[in-house]
Each structure stands twice: as C-alpha cells, then as structure tokens.
Amino acid sequence: MFEGMIGKWVLIGCLILVGMLIVGLFFGPFLGGNVLALMGAGLAVALGGIGSIVAVGATGEKAAGMTAENPDNFGRLLPLQALPGTQGIYGFLVGFLALVKMEAFAGVLELSLEQGWQVFFACLPCALSCLISGLYQAKVCLSGMDIVAKKPEESGKALILPAMVETYAVLGLLASVLMIMFAVKI
C-alpha cells in the first residue's frame, strides 16, 4: 500500500516546488529578494518534512502492529522507525542556515532579487533529495522490519540497508549547506 503512495507524495512535493517557482518567476520582482529566500528556506523544511512525515508514519504504523504481535521487538523496531525521520531534520537545518545567512537573528538583511534566487536554488538540492530519499528509505525500513520479525538476532543488518538510501539525503544536505555558506553572495 505504501509503495503506491510514494509516487503521489513525490508528485505533491514537486507540485509545491513548481508552484513556488512560478510564484517566484512571475511575482518575484514585486515580492523582493527576501521573500524568494524565505520561500527557498521554507521549501527545504517543508519538503524534507513531508518526506519524513509520510515515511515515519508508514514505518510507525507497521512497527506498532508488530509490537502488538510481539512487544519484545519494540527496541529493535524503534530505530527503524526513526531512521527516515532524519530527512526532516536535514531540511530544517538547511532552512535554518538560510535564515542565518539572511542574518534573520540580527536584524534582517535587505536581499536583492538575485540574492533571493541564489538562496532559493541553494535550498533545492536538500529539499528534493530529502523528500524522495525519505519516502524510499521508509520502503527499505518496512522490509527491514520483516528481518526483525523473522530473524531478530540479525536486526543490525536491517539498520544498514536503509542507510544506503539516506546517503543521498546527506549529500543533498551537504550540497545545500556548502552552497548557502559559500556560493551565495550576500
């Protein structure tokens, strides 16, 4: 069932992204650079968040069912549920760094349109990679829970397989962080 939902959520995420892009393209000159930058920061937080919400929701559902079946597995299932939750944190992190770059905590800077777009695009790698990797990582976690059910002593392996998917969220995060810190000229 969850497999069928992944496409839908990726689509929703991309629609939000495209919507923001269109808003920026058409109304950017009226809204100003700060709004564009905030849209980018918001996208990173929201898309990463969506990925993690859906993922942690689906994994949590299965974990709860399996805990009902055998409460002893709770400790092994919890990390598997938490694993796709990191994408939301990465998204938040990038959003936060964008705010720091705007000096939001020390009297906001007045960004030009160009600077606004720079921040916007710098946020995208993390936003997209976190959205999609979160969803697909959940898929691996769900299958990993079957390892816990059938061979509890091999639970460690169930943790490593989803980590492969997370790699790309980490790289997206890194790319966004480096872009915001060094490539955005403010």
Binding site: P71, D72, F74, G75, P79, A82, L83, G85, T86, I89, Y90, L93, F96, L97, F105, G156, K157, L159, I160, A163, M164, E166, T167, V170, L171, L173, L174, V177, L178, M181, F182
Partner: protein
C-alpha cells in the same frame, strides 16, 4: 586476536548414553555441534510428540496466566531484552514440582466455566431488561392468553397514541390498562371480546405498537408465572454466578502467581526438545553414537574434563580440514572486543580469513566521534554506558561498551571542534571562565569553516581505503601468494600516497620531487599488474592502462566520506539551534523566561544526541561495510554457537 583456532571434535559413545552426554555438553557450553540432515528414526517419534504436547499445554497456560499477572519489565528492558532471573535451585524445584497436566486441566476447566458464566449472565441480563418494566404486572404471565370469550395480550405502544384511542378505533369492546410508561412508550394490558371487530392484533397495530409475549423470559424462573418472582429469581441466580466467577478469578489469580514457574518450564521443555532434535540428527549405528562438532582449541581440555565422567566414550580432536565450514569465534582484547559488534552486523569472517575488527576499530571510533562531535554528548554517552553496565545485567554488553568508548572519542572531537552542547558556553556563559576553558581546545570550527573539516574527512577516508588495501595485501600474503600481493595490491599501496603527495607538491605545499618518483613507481607496478595476466602481447598496453580503472572507484569511495562532515554539521547546527531557542525564550517571556531555559536545553540536546548518535553509528558502520570491507573482506562465516541451555523466557543464574 582475530579468529579463534578451532579443533574438530568427534565423540564416539554408547547409544544409551546419548541423552546424558548431550545434557553434559549443554552444561559445559564449549561444543558447537554440527547439525546434519535429520534421519529417519521413527522410534523416537513418541518422545517428540511428548515435548510438543507439553509445550502447547504450557503455552495455553502461559497465555491464560498472563491475563491475571505479568512479569514486570522496565522501559529499558525493552531495549536490552533482559529476562527475568531465577536461581538454579528454584529452577530445579519448579521443574521437579510442577504437574503440567493437572494445571492444564484446571486452567481449561476454569476457562470454560468462566465463558459459560459470562454467557449465562449476558442472557439473564437481556431477560431482566425485557422484564423489568413489567414488574408491576400482577397477572401471572401464563394467564394472559385467549379465554372462552376474551382475548388478552400485552403490548408496547407509543404513549401518546393512548390519549386518542377513541378517535381511530372503536373501543367499545376493548379494555386496556397501562402498566408502565417510560421514554414515550407504554406497556399495556389489553382485553377484547372474542369474535368482535376489531381484533386485538388490529388494535395493537392501529396504535402503532407491538404485542409482547413474556413467557419465554420468565421460563424457568417463576413457578407462579409472576414477573416479580421471575425477576427476583433471576437476580439471585446472577449474583450466585457472579460469586462463582469471583471465586474462580481469585483462584486463578493465585495460580497465576506461578507464571515464572511456567516460563521456566517452557524453557525446560524447549531445551529438552532442542537436545532431542540434536540427538535425532546425530549419526549412529546400532550401538554407537557419533557426535561431531567444533570446540575452541583452548577449551578442548575443559571438554575432555567435563566428559571424563563417562568411561565408555572416545573423544577425538583434530585440526579441521581445508574446505570445512568451521564455525568462527572472534577473540580480541578488551579494547577491540566491543567493535566486534560492528563486524557482527555485517557477518562473520570465514574461518581462514582475518578478523577485520582490529582494523576497523580505530576508524569507527574516530568517524563516530566526528559525526557526533560534541564534548558533552561524549561525556553523557560514556557515563550512560558505565551506568548501564553497572545497573543492568546484560548477556551481551558489546554495543553499550562500544558507545562508552565512542563517548570518549566524541569528547575529544567535540573539544577540538569547540562544541560543548553546541555553542552553549558562548551563548550563555560568554566572557566567563567556562568559555575561556572550552575555547582553549578548539582548533577548528565546523560551522564557520566546513571546508577544513571536509578535507579532514576526505583525508581520513583516503587513509581508511589505503589501510583496506594494505589489509587485503596482508591477507593475500598470509595465503602464501606474496608476489601477487605485492604486485596487485602493493602497487596501490605505493601509488595512492604518491599521488596525494604529488598533488600536494603541485599545490606548493611540499617542496620535494620524491612524491613524483613514488607515484611513478606505483604507476608502473599498477600497469605491470594490469598487463601481466593478459596473454595477448598487443593487448598488454591496453590492459596496463586499464589497471588504473580502479582509481575511479577509489575516488567515488573517497567522496562518500563527505558524510562525516555533513553529519558533524547536522549535530553541531541543531545544537546551536537549541541554544538559540533557549536564549530567545529569555527575552520572549519577560521575567520568568529563565525557567524554560533548562527544559528546552535538556529536551533539545537529548533529542539531538539520540537522533545523531543513531545516525553517526549507522553511517560510521556503513563506511566500514561498503567502502572498507569491499577492499578485502569476504565474510559469510558461520558463528560459533556452542550447545547451551535454551534461555528464551528466563535467565537461570547460579
């Protein structure tokens, strides 16, 4: 250090001794018994059924008892999988003293009776619901029936229809008496003359009601047919049933106190079953039993001592053969042992392979520290680990020790990166001695200068990969192919540092031309290694250049270590965010804002610690499995699992 030496053990014994020998072996816990395909031994079947039956009885008893009581488990036990403990004397007493059949029969009887009582009570409650409104009816129910001239009925009709009875139907020959009125309905007693229109049922339906017959409800509970009497009798029966139920429940509650005993018995029979399975799969002749297995070379004497109580027995131990699947036991010193946990997640090495644990240990230690990278988190981890080992009895404390060790490295890494609960010292203790103290150790700032940390991460990655290739070379040398090892792997061992140093010298960081020569030597070796297995003389140059293809995979492997920076940044920045929120709240809530600060700090940092410790562990592990192990490690060995008592539900302690 590394993989423990094993001896192949074969025990020849009289068939009659089988059961007793297996029990002795189980208590010795030194022999890994090789299981064979099960053989046809039909004369054992009876035993097998016996254990199955006992176990299914016990599981019924267990789930029945668990309705009444449960073994208390703390929150931590859910993570440690700790089991309730029982002394060996107690265990022996339970096993000897419990009659499973009897308990089973009682449990079944009680269960059945409870169900019956519940059903009876439910049925009686329904009767009471129907009867209760009619309690004032003073005509016995059997009397309400057509007589010679009259027709009589009880009916429930809407109360307001009674007010205008005369409007719609002629009431000349109808008499009614309202017995009760409730929720807009009335219970009425109706009489008409027979052979007159309208008939009684027509009257009832004209009033919009239904006729009722209570004879089924009072059946068996009223001799005279009076509703009142029936109600009284039903009430009495119900209270009797309830009393009986209470009695059974209290008996059950008492019996259920013995849940531990039942758990112990389940383990006991599981153990019996396990030994039986083993015995069944043991090759034997008519009189002789042959038990095959492996024991650690060190423990052979213990095995022989333990079995010396048997006279008619022959134990042979020998060096395992080349192509046997010898079980693997990792032996490392106390510093390295916890890291076996990391190796074991991936699997066990083959018996003839090197144990990768000592090689991965330092890297895992450092990578974890850099990913988590906060001094106070490190201290918390170490303290938690010590506390946990002290207070909890763990079967396997490798993971928790590993966290303790990594806490120490995290403390160092955090101090070097100037991160103590994020930037807590400068946020809340700016200008004080605390800030001066913490900033004394800081050499690099990951948040403001991530490039340096990126270079360090990638640099460590290169060293990691390089060590991986060296280990592979050592492994090949160990197998005797010294020449292959030096040409195929040694070439890279020389080339990679040469290349790096050469790039550094190009950048002007090193004023020397030696790196260039090292690199050239390495490159020539790589080309030779690529070309030497190519039989076609014209293809040799192409194969030689093709030898460099590996550099692509080494390059992408190296980039993977950028995750250390990313995770380090993640934990550092979330720490900073927590501190910032805590600092903002002081101004946001004037006066009492300080009250919230500790709460926010503790919750926030705890969250950050937990989520990032998980991430750090997994990603440091991944770097071992994917980048490091792929250089040299094959794995797939069978873990050494000596025959032991089954401890599924409880822990028997001496």
């Amino acid at each position: 250090m590394a993989v423990a030496r094993m001896r192949k053990v074969t025990i020849f014994a009289y068939e009659d001794l089988g059961e007793s020998i297996f029990e002795t072996l189980r208590d010795l816990e030194v022999l890994h018994v090789t299981k064979r395909e099960s053989r046809d031994l039909s004369y054992y079947e009876e035993d097998e059924d016996k254990y199955d039956e006992k176990l299914s009885q016990l599981s019924v008893i267990k789930s029945y008892f668990e309705q009444y009581t449960s073994i208390e488990k703390s929150f931590l036990d859910m993570f440690t999988g700790a089991k309730p403990q029982m002394s060996y004397e107690e265990f022996k007493r339970v096993v000897a003293g419990c009659d499973v059949d009897e308990v089973f029969v009682t449990v079944q009887k009680h269960g059945k009776r409870l169900k019956e009582i519940d059903q009876a009570i439910q049925e009686l409650t329904q009767r009471v619901e129907v009867l209760a409104p009619w309690v004032e009816l003073d005509i016995p129910i059997p009397e309400i029936r057509p007589t010679k001239t009259c027709d009589m009925q009880l009916a429930i009709v809407p109360s307001n229809s009674l007010n205008h009875v005369g409007d719609e139907i002629s009431t000349e020959y109808v008499h009614f008496h309202e017995v009760w009125r409730e929720h807009g309905n009335s219970g009425v007693w109706l009489v008409t003359l027979l052979d007159q229109e309208p008939s009684l049922s027509a009257v009832v339906s004209a009033l919009g009601g239904v006729s009722v017959n209570l004879s089924r409800e009072i059946e068996g509970y009223s001799e005279t047919g009076s509703v009142k009497e029936a109600l009284n009798n039903i009430e009495k029966t119900v209270s009797d049933l309830l009393a009986e139920r209470e009695e059974i429940l209290s008996k059950d509650g008492e019996m259920a106190q013995d849940l531990m005993g039942i758990l112990a018995l389940i383990d006991y029979y599981l153990d019996k079953q396990n030994l039986f399975e083993l015995r069944k799969s043991t090759p034997k002749t008519r009189f002789t039993l042959v038990i095959e297995g492996y024991a650690k070379a060190k423990e052979i004497d213990k095995l022989r001592d333990g079995l010396s109580i048997y006279k008619d027995i022959e134990i042979v131990d020998e060096e395992p053969g080349e192509d046997e699947d010898v079980p693997v036991f990792l032996e490392n010193n106390v510093l390295i042992r916890p890291f076996e946990f990391v190796t074991n997640i991936y699997g066990y090495p083959q018996y003839n392979e090197m144990d990768p644990t000592p090689f991965l240990a330092p890297f895992f230690w450092i990578f974890f520290a850099m990913c988590l990278g906060d001094a106070i988190y490190g201290i918390i981890l170490s303290i938690f680990s010590i506390w946990f080992i002290k207070t909890q009895s763990l079967e396997d404390d490798k993971l928790i020790r590993l966290l303790g060790y990594c806490g120490v490295s995290t403390l160092f890494a955090g101090a070097l990166m100037g991160s103590w609960f994020g930037d807590l010292p400068s946020t809340f203790f700016g200008g004080t001695a605390i800030e001066r103290f913490t900033s004394k150790f800081a050499v690099l700032d990951p948040v403001n200068d991530p490039i340096t940390l990126l270079v360090v991460s990638l640099g460590l990655g290169i060293v990691h990969l390089w060590v991986g290739i060296i280990v592979k070379m050592l492994g090949t040398i160990r197998e005797g192919a010294v020449f292959d090892a030096i040409v195929d792997d040694g070439s890279w061992v020389v080339f990679i540092p040469g290349l790096i140093l050469w790039v550094l010298s190009l950048m002007g960081m090193i004023q020397s031309s030696i790196p260039l020569y090292i690199m050239i030597v390495g490159a020539v070796m790589i080309m030779w290694s690529g070309a030497r297995n190519q039989p076609n003389i014209f293809m040799k140059p192409i194969s030689a250049v093709g030898g460099f293809y590996n550099i692509v995979s080494y390059f992408s492997d190296t980039l993977s270590y950028a995750r250390i920076l990313a995770l380090g940044l993640a934990s550092a920045i979330i720490g900073v965010v927590v501190n910032m929120i805590a600092a903002l709240i002081v101004d946001m809530v004037p006066g009492v804002g300080w009250v919230f600060v500790p709460v926010i700090l503790i919750v926030g940092h705890l969250f950050n610690l937990v989520i990032n410790a998980l991430g750090s562990f997994i990603h440091s592990g991944r770097l071992q499995y994917v980048e490091f192990f792929s250089k040299f490690f094959e794995g797939g060995g069978t873990p050494f699992r000596p025959l032991k008592r089954v401890r599924k539900n409880i822990m028997v302690i001496d």
